[in-house]
């Protein structure tokens, strides 16, 4: 009701993209700032010094070469997860199952990694990555098919599949693929062959390079190809997509498969790049963070990279923060949740800053609920 003259026609001037970009960044940046501020209040209320805590947090995430290395290590799976969720969002699907898909990717990459010995790295690495990604895609395809052919909403099916994935991978690591070497007693697979471990290229971990390439590829797919157009059309208006001759079912399955492929690739990269084997408990917590990142990036594949780095810094620095200031590292979960709230409920920040609503494509998830 308040906005009287909001319908000014958009001009086609040259600076428009830059202004659009800046405008698009206001809400995420403000959300992060507000969340950090609220986090500081909570820290102060629990009797610690927020400045000490935050400086330790950022020291632990950015303070040294090693810290930055760990930030990159943390950010890598987040980029894949954020891309997975963003891509599904573009098609109007909410893939909460990135966690499960990542687990499948991780365990199968480990399997390829340890079961094949003596393969040259140029073959072994791509093979293990590919198998991991495909298994992630297969896991997501289950939810995609269920949505396309029975209408079961992907939010519930992917969450249930996460639970199943935990059980399944735990069993694999404790049963058929267990590390039977004499020193081991717990559930885990053998270590992957050294040839399958991801190297650093010019000092940058290969996983990070792959993640950035994946972001560019997803951006290209969404905005520059007919497949992306089809995905977005289904996401924006499934009915119009149907009238335009696009198969909504096919796109639903395809979007989930692509999303699961990315998540599975993230799991594989983590196994081959960081952990070195599959072990239950080593690949957790990604599912929800990926949602925060996708929304923080406003589902823009390129923006997923800085969003992941930001969360990565917090994760990498959390231990040092607790070590230096005694603030429990769970505070970063609280901060992330508050960020998520403000980016999701962007009307609050828009209201405070007197910004008008964004035009253009919107994420709509609730239309397919239960039907």
């Amino acid at each position: 009701m308040e906005r009287a003259e909001s319908q000014s026609p958009p001009q086609a001037d040259r600076l428009a993209p830059v202004r659009r970009l800046l405008r698009a960044m206001i809400v995420p940046v403000a959300s992060v700032a507000v969340a950090l501020a609220i986090g500081a209040v909570i820290i102060a209320l629990s009797g610690a010094n927020p400045l000490v805590a935050y400086s330790a947090l950022f020291e632990g995430g950015l303070g040294s070469g090693r810290a930055i290395g760990r930030t990159l290590e943390k950010a890598t799976p987040l980029i894949f997860g954020g891309l997975a969720v963003s891509l599904a969002f573009k098609c109007g699907l909410f893939n909460i199952g990135a966690q499960g898909q990542l687990l499948l990717g991780a365990v199968f990459a480990a399997f390829i990694g340890f079961s094949l010995q003596g393969l040259p790295a140029v073959l072994h690495i791509p093979l293990a990555l590919l198998v991991g990604a495909i298994m992630g895609a297969v896991w997501a395809a289950i939810a995609g098919m269920l949505k396309a052919f029975t209408g079961a909403h992907e939010v519930i099916t992917t969450i249930m599949l996460n639970f199943v994935a935990f059980n399944l991978t735990d069993w694999l690591a404790d049963g058929p693929w267990k590390d039977r070497s004499p020193g081991n007693i717990v559930a885990r697979t053998p270590a992957v062959a050294p040839e399958a471990r991801l190297p650093d290229i010019a000092g940058v971990p290969l996983g990070m390079i792959l993640a950035v390439l994946a972001a560019i590829a997803v951006w290209w797919l969404i905005w520059r190809t007919t497949i992306g157009f089809e995905l977005r059309t289904v996401g924006q208006n499934a009915s119009a997509a149907k009238y335009a001759g696009i198969s909504v079912r096919r796109m639903t399955v395809l979007a989930m498969v692509a999303s699961g492929f990315l998540a599975g690739l993230g799991g594989a990269v983590e196994t081959l790049g960081v952990v070195g084997r599959f072990q239950p408990g080593f690949n957790v917590g990604l599912g929800f963070q990926a949602i925060t990142i996708a929304l923080l990036a406003r589902t823009n594949p390129i923006a997923v990279i800085p969003a992941s780095l930001l969360i990565g810094v917090m994760q990498a620095g959390a231990s040092r923060m607790q070590f230096n200031s005694g603030v429990a590292s769970e505070i970063i979960d609280v901060i992330q949740a508050i960020i998520l709230f403000f980016v999701a409920a962007d009307s609050i920040i828009r209201w405070v800053l007197r910004l008008r609503a964004e035009e253009g494509e919107q994420v709509t998830l609730s239309s397919g609920w239960g039907s």
Binding site: T150, L161, F163, A337, A344, A345, G370
Partner: protein, 346 residues
Amino acid sequence: MQITDTLARPSAARIPWLTIGVWGGLAILVLVAYVRAPQATTAVLTSTIRQSTPIILGALAGIMCERSGVINIGIEGMMLICAFLGFLFNVWTGDLILATMGALLVGAAVGAFHALMSITLKVDQIIAGTVINILAVGLTGYFYQQGLTTRGKFSPVSIPVLADIPIIGPVFFSNPPITYASLILIVVIHVLLFRTAWGLRTRAVGEHPAAADTVGIAVNRVRYINVIIGGMLAGLAGAFLTLESVGSFERNMTNGRGFVSLAVMIFGKWTPFGAWGGSLLFGFANAMQSQIQFLKNQLPSWLAWIGDLPPQFIGMLPYVLTIAVLAGFVGRARPPAAIGKVYEKE
């Protein structure tokens, strides 16, 4: 007749032979089992009720929200927050009744928060629910203090005479208060939705908000109130976890029960009794998980393989069942027509 009819009224004139048949068959099965192993049968059925209680309460929460047209996938988070604060209230006050009231109030507040996001701020309702889920994990994780010790939990209250009936007595009439409350609430919510003016308005708002608006019903107010009631029901489910079932709090202790509730709600076609049937099914599946392990060495040889399954496989059962139920029922059940849509006057 088409299946969709059942949404409007749970019990039209036609007799649900299939339902009667299924439940009748189950009753016979229970009797046979009871004759063979009375104690174990009663134990499993009691466990079924117990494990179905948070599920049905969560499903009732979902029904209240969704019947008025608001999707609530934040039930899991609502349960967790209320379980946590209910536990804290118990620690501070030492009074279980006060703690339950506190959990209900918190549920109402979280419900209002969901309503604020999905009605006033027009956040996509699925995302709004996810925000609640993530906030719940973060906040309870941070504020949870390990050192806290409970001051007890609700204990069963046997209803004289009724509790002595075989099977039915121990299963239905020897329960703690929140379990009784959940059984009563099934009936109350059924009556509320289908026999009262409020229920008629609620359903109208969920089906055709514009129609309700034009006859002077404040659509968003009705939605707010229903979502708040839903929050309180989720709060009761949370209170059940910490104040009646466990006695203490643990991070992530809801363990997906809120999501199972939603599946059960759909299974029950958005009716309280249908959802109850679904939650009993899940409660039973859960009870059997352990019973199978308990009887590992006593299973007949042709069933021995079940006992040899790794627990991880048996543990998948409820989740796989949820998926199967959704896949099988969702297409055939029709949600309230206006669900997920913000109501705005043209």
